[in-house]
């Protein structure tokens, strides 16, 4: 009786496993047919380069969302860490030091977020909102809003260089993704993150140190933001404090959600977030190729978020 039923095709299960990849393939097909330029090697490299920063931020948001939190400060912390790092390399020409400074900038706000959330029990939404303001204000104050351009070549290599045919930022992104995958899928802290997001009370009663777990996610997100900042400034060849105003954390959160991670926590995988990030990347890229106005682009992305979440809710409902 059991074996017979198992072979039955289950749409919702199929979707939750492969659906998002199919959507990506479908879009690539349609876009290639609509615009020849889209499928050119050059353009593909462009798309991937464009999604790098968002994807690195998304690695941090992935942990935050799965554990039932969100990091609104990721975008401005990225600008904070990245700009400090660029200023540092401008002043000292010391690339390793500049990288350390960038990561430390991210770490600093990761720790602040973690402390606000775990020690003072402030909801993540509010705590990271406060950090978002602080990071943005701090870097604007420190730099007076001025860019510092013409950075050391060894530094810009991180954002513009190649190793063989592969852009260096893509390699950095891949490393960030691998680390995130490793943490989530293969370590106890990853499992704890899923458990805390899925059912905080049960996690606590199972002896999981909930606060440590949340703290870890905050720090991880901060570090990702710092790393994203370094890559971004290296690509721009300048330290630009205003990049914090671009709302990149929202794009990163969108990528994670389009990738099927639940806002309520406990569910999600970084593999799907990559696809989510690519979907957003190619839609933006295609609209640029078609010369679609940026306001319209925003509307389309808004609709995309709705669609992703609606599908997610439907799939979840049909499972119960």
């Amino acid at each position: 009786m059991m074996g017979k039923e198992k072979t039955k095709f289950n749409l919702s299960e199929f979707y939750s496993k492969f659906g998002i990849i199919l959507i990506l393939l479908f879009m690539v097909t349609i876009f290639s047919l609509a615009n020849r330029k889209f499928i050119s090697a050059n353009n593909i490299r462009n798309v991937i380069r464009q999604v790098v920063v968002i994807t690195i931020l998304a690695c941090g948001e992935q942990l935050m969302l799965i554990s039932g939190m969100v990091d609104l400060s990721a975008g401005t912390v990225m600008a904070f860490g990245g700009t400090l790092s660029a200023y540092c390399v401008f002043a000292t020409q010391n690339v390793p030091l500049a990288i350390l400074v960038g990561l430390a900038g991210g770490l600093f706000f990761g720790v602040i977020n973690g402390a606000l959330i775990t020690i003072f029990s402030i909801p993540a939404f509010i705590g990271t909102l406060a950090s978002m303001k602080m990071a943005s204000g701090a870097i604007m104050w420190y730099t007076n809003g001025k860019n510092k351009s013409n950075l050391d070549d060894a530094y810009t290599w991180l954002g513009q260089g190649y190793i063989g045919p592969i852009p260096v930022p893509v390699i950095i992104m891949a490393i960030a993704l691998l680390i995130t995958y490793y943490v989530l899928a293969w370590t106890p802290v990853g499992r704890n993150i899923y458990a805390v997001g899925g059912n905080l009370q049960a996690a606590k009663a199972t002896g999981i140190r909930v606060r440590n777990t949340q703290f870890f996610a905050c720090v991880f997100s901060g570090l990702c933001a710092g790393l994203a900042g370094i890559v971004l400034m290296a690509r721009l060849n300048s330290g630009q404090p205003s990049t914090g105003q671009a709302g990149m954390e929202m794009d990163a959160i969108t990528a994670v959600i389009v990738g099927g991670t639940s806002m309520s926590g406990g569910v999600g995988a970084i593999q799907n977030t990559i696809i989510g990030s690519l979907i957003i990347g190619i839609i933006k890229n295609f609209m640029n190729l078609q010369n679609i106005h940026s306001s319209i682009q925003d509307i389309v992305l808004g609709i995309l978020i709705c669609v992703a979440v609606i599908i997610d809710v439907q799939v979840r409902r049909s499972k119960v």
Binding site: M2, E5, R191, Y194, A203, A205, T206, G207
Partner: protein, 502 residues
């Protein structure tokens, strides 16, 4: 029976089947509910009761078979339609709005309104009171819901259903979350409504209850109707036998463990307003019961021992050594485990898989050479699933998809992997069918045999008497008595439980 009397059938299911991926939940089920009667559905967890209910209230559509209400075959299967033909479900967990009045709860979302859309308060309260009086109840429509007991809330929920013309009321284990006294009140009220032609489908695990309230009893097992008889024509043992599909000579297994030396000593546990001066011992191989009424402080004490909640005073001595337990991880490290009374809230991560849930308390052990070993994890999970007889399509299934008893076994499996030295189980068999109960008692006995100490908090006296070697009785936050051997009987325990009348 008597052919001449034409029965007034209000609801009928004919040859209903329903499958889910991996399981045939219902297999050719037929049964009838007569107007103005209480039809009890009995069966183990996973027997198909909840699927059956969900077909009746329109959440699921049957693969085969018909649902007939008052002679009409239902063709539109959705919850709203079923509501409109008079089917209402009172769920196990009620969700009344506690800070609104009885009337506001009854008319929630359907308040009488003026043309401008504002609520006609007076009419609402009048209507509500009329409805309540008309049904013969004593409630004040203006009373705050928060001040009512759970059984009263259940009745209000029924009244609410009747206000929108419900004729068939499904009650999903209504007695599992209320005290015995409240159950009596509930039954009385149900009888009143019965007399007015309202029909009930009543799910229950409790044998005594079937006698008290049921007119008919249908036993389901593995998705099939095993029998359907008038209550009174069938005796308790037969129902149990049919539910589990085997003879149940022994509802309680015997603890064969040799009781050894003192394992645990709890000294003078106190927290203002909850418990004070609680001291007791637990020996190796012993199963210690903790009896008392709901709210006696048993759960609170045990949570504090486990470090989940704070205490103001008191110490825990384990095998002669004082432990400094400040949080659950401290207790777990020492081998003291607490199984929460609320498995959904505090036991499982429902959106994660069976194997992940089983592994959750033991991740360190699987973390080898920088990676969690999936092989070890899968091996342990499969072993536990087999050992505890957890019914699940696979270990990859999400925990939320399992039935209550199987979920409870998952939580126990998680803790057994930690080889507990002291296992505190808080109402481990609540809402669980007879077969699974036996299995859980068996686990307790096995643990005792291995030299562990087991504490069982239970509000069901028969199981305390049946399983435990000794029992503490608590009342008002204090230990009011201790019973063992001949003294361990319902009367004695109740005397202590109501405040120690000795």
């Amino acid at each position: 029976m008597e052919k001449e009397v034409k029965k007034d059938i209000v609801l009928e299911l004919t040859h209903v089947s329903k499958s889910f991926p991996g399981v045939k939940a219902l297999d050719d089920v037929s049964f009838q509910v007569e107007r103005g009667t209480v039809h009890v559905l009995a069966g183990e967890n996973g027997a198909g009761k909840s699927t059956l209910i969900k077909i009746i209230n329109g959440i699921y559509t049957a693969d085969e078979g018909d649902l007939i209400i008052e002679g009409e075959t239902i063709t539109t299967h959705n919850p709203r339609h079923m509501k409109s033909v008079g089917v209402a479900t009172i769920h196990q967990e009620l969700s009344p709005v506690l800070d609104l009045t009885v009337a506001e709860n009854i008319f929630l979302g359907e308040q009488p309104k003026t043309k401008l859309g504002s609520i006609r308060w007076k009419k609402m309260y009048d209507d509500a009171q009329k409805l309540i009086d008309g049904l013969g109840f004593q409630y004040d429509a203006k009373r705050l819901m928060r001040t009512m007991t759970t059984s009263d809330m259940q009745i209000i929920e029924i009244i609410k259903a009747i206000s929108v013309n419900a004729k068939i009321i499904i009650m999903d284990e209504p007695s599992s979350s209320i005290t015995e006294k409240e159950v009596k009140v509930l039954h009385e009220q149900i009888r009143k409504l019965k007399a007015q032609g309202i029909s009930f489908i009543y799910i229950s695990h409790k044998m005594d209850e079937i006698d008290q309230i049921g007119d008919m009893v249908t036993v389901l097992r593995d998705g099939k109707t095993i029998s359907s008889d008038p209550v009174g024509m069938i005796i308790k043992d037969q129902i149990i036998t049919r539910m589990v599909g085997r003879e149940m000579n022994n509802i309680y297994p015997k603890n064969e463990a040799v009781i050894g030396e003192k394992l645990l000593e709890v000294r003078n546990f106190s927290r203002k307003g909850n418990f004070s001066g609680v001291s007791f011992n637990l020996r190796a191989g012993e199963i210690l019961g903790m009896a008392g009424l709901v709210g006696a402080g048993r759960t609170e004490v045990c949570r504090a021992i486990f470090g989940l909640d704070d205490r103001e005073a008191g110490e825990v001595v384990y095998m002669g050594e004082k432990l400094d337990i400040r949080s659950a991880p401290d207790a777990i490290k020492a081998g003291i485990i607490y199984l929460s009374e609320d498995r959904k809230l505090e036991g499982l991560v429902l959106c994660r898989s069976v194997s992940e849930n089983i592994a959750l308390a033991n991740l360190r052990k699987y973390f080898r050479g920088g990676f969690l070993s999936r092989t070890l994890e899968t091996r342990d999970a499969s072993e536990m699933v087999t050992k505890l007889n957890v019914k699940t399509p696979s270990i990859k299934t999400s925990a939320g998809a399992l039935s209550g008893g199987n979920q409870q076994k998952l939580v126990i499996a998680k803790w057994l992997l930690r080889s507990p030295k002291i296992f505190i189980m808080d109402e481990p068999t609540r809402g669980i069918d007879v077969g699974a109960k036996y299995e859980i008692y068996k686990i307790m006995c096995d643990l005792a045999k291995q030299g562990a100490g087991v504490i069982m908090i239970s509000s069901e006296l028969p199981e305390i008497i049946g399983v435990c070697d000794r029992a503490l009785v608590m009342s008002g936050g204090k230990v009011t008595g201790e019973v063992s051997g001949e003294d361990m009987n319902q009367k004695k325990i109740m005397q202590f439980a109501v405040g120690g009348l000795e």
